[in-house]
Assembly symmetry: C2
Homo-oligomer: 303 residues x 2
């Protein structure tokens, strides 16, 4: 497993007893990210045993309350927990002023440095990179400035083919070079080609997060071939007019995007409270795209 | 029943799976108030079936996150629910700017008028009055500017003593005058004293809300004789030094206030997460003040 997504909340608009606004916890190649932070996200993190100290990066898609009102409480809790590591928050322009003002008025003191990365571009851009992953924005089409996020593992090192390696007298000090793709020169001068000593590494995994947005085919080239796509489906097709008006998507539209982008798996969420049976979203999407699942609080998707 | 308090949340600082920050729903003399609004308050309101449309007044004690971060989500939800009635919010100076800025950045549109009443006085003052209740502030002693609130029913009209009234030929049009305390002059000219026609009305009920505060005897004259006192008890006496340092109270201190103020019932809350067994708070307080109860989410206190 190198990609694991835990749904913390996946309902639209107002919290209800068993409906939680959007928030997700993504583990990808040993990185740990929170994506969106609706009210109560920190409680859901506790409930589903997300380690608070593992989180160093939070990505906010847009500043509607159901994606954002839980951020300040989480940051405040980090302060109470005596966090010292810096924390990075990515989100639309304006997020810094609003959050800092709230923390100030609440006199939330903290030792850690809070670093905002404010986004304003309407084109996809690389906003984060380390030795494990890349994160790009996915510009979406909603009533306010909104980005989805594309999380992609970096190319992994090759795996050692231990049985083959044991055929030769190879020093362990060379293992990293072999993983990096180099051939080995034995003491005898014999050259062992790298391919003989290694297994092909796993293909880098990709997770695409798209919420909130109208049906917006411009995203297809960005999310092409993703292993896992989370795409909002606020409505069913019976309310396609309402989806268009509010710049949300239907389940069928989400499935169409998944199909056209050749993703491997689709997860739906952000269901409007008007639908009592979310199974209807799966039924509608599956007609167009078979590998469809439903987000529900606490559900984990592993790739 | 003329006074009913529903605990929505009663734990300090950070939300946990089964711990909710402070919020209460008070019904007093047909008025419906929310007191404090920690993160997730609106979800707790749903859970305990508080009618959103009944709420016209919200009282915030102070701007620490665990009493305040749920306000904007609740206001935003009122907008989504198409509320049209004006809504009054009472709280420390600064609450208006912070809340309006957040609503603006989230583009939360609403039809209703949101009226802030910002408080800055360090003396108890009458901040709300209608034909049913008075609300006074209770200046508290905490790390930031903080008010408790005293909710008091207005004197009620006398009740009609129906059997006695039926002895005379009294027009129903006179009933309101009788309830207001007036004598009745019969057509014969005979005067029937009011006392003969009425029963003594119930004594006006009083609820005092005191959170967060250090041990602060200055509040005693204000809350004297209250039917119900909610007083924070963040610590037990083993942490009296920490209570003093953080300007919170111990259970014993809350009980001492209750005893010295001659209140009828004490409810404790705002327990620190370090205590696994909240029964210890009751045990400690009862030694000093017998009629002590523990706040827990969903518990209702009726007077």
């Amino acid at each position: 497993m190198s990609l694991r997504l835990t749904i913390l909340g996946c309902h639209s608009a107002t919290p209800r007893v068993n409906a939680f606004p959007t928030s997700q916890y993504l583990e990808i190649n040993d990185r740990h990210f929170i994506i969106d932070c609706g009210e109560g996200a920190q409680r859901q993190m506790r409930k589903y045993k997300v380690g608070f100290s593992k989180i160093n990066h939070i990505f906010i898609s847009h500043l509607h309350g159901d994606h954002f009102y839980g951020l300040v409480g989480l940051l405040s809790t980090f302060g109470i927990l005596n966090r010292e590591k810096e924390l990075h928050v990515f989100g639309p322009k304006g997020i810094k002023e609003a959050t800092e003002m709230l923390l100030k008025i609440s006199q939330s003191h903290s030792k850690f440095e809070l670093i905002f990365h404010e986004l304003a571009s309407k084109k996809s851009e690389l906003i984060f990179e380390d030795d494990k992953v890349y994160v790009h924005t996915i510009p979406l089409n909603h009533r306010v400035y909104t980005n989805g996020y594309l999380f992609k593992e970096k190319e992994k090192l090759k795996k050692l083919h231990i049985q083959k390696i044991e055929n030769y007298s190879i020093d362990k000090a060379d293992f990293l070079n072999i993983k990096a793709g180099r051939d080995v020169v034995l003491e005898s001068g014999e050259i062992i080609p790298n391919d003989e000593l290694t297994l092909v590494p796993e293909k880098p995994k990709i997770f695409a997060y798209c919420s909130d947005t109208s049906f917006f085919p411009s995203i297809i080239p960005i999310i092409e071939g993703a292993d896992l796509l989370y795409h909002e489906a606020t409505f069913l097709s019976d309310k396609e007019d309402l989806a268009e008006k509010t710049l949300h998507s239907t389940a069928a539209q989400a499935a169409t995007i998944a199909k056209q982008a050749n993703v491997k798996n689709l997860v739906l969420g952000h269901y409007s409270g008007r639908y009592k049976d979310i199974q209807l979203f799966k039924n509608e999407a599956e007609i167009i795209f078979k590998n469809t699942s439903l987000a529900e609080p606490g559900i984990i998707f592993e790739v």
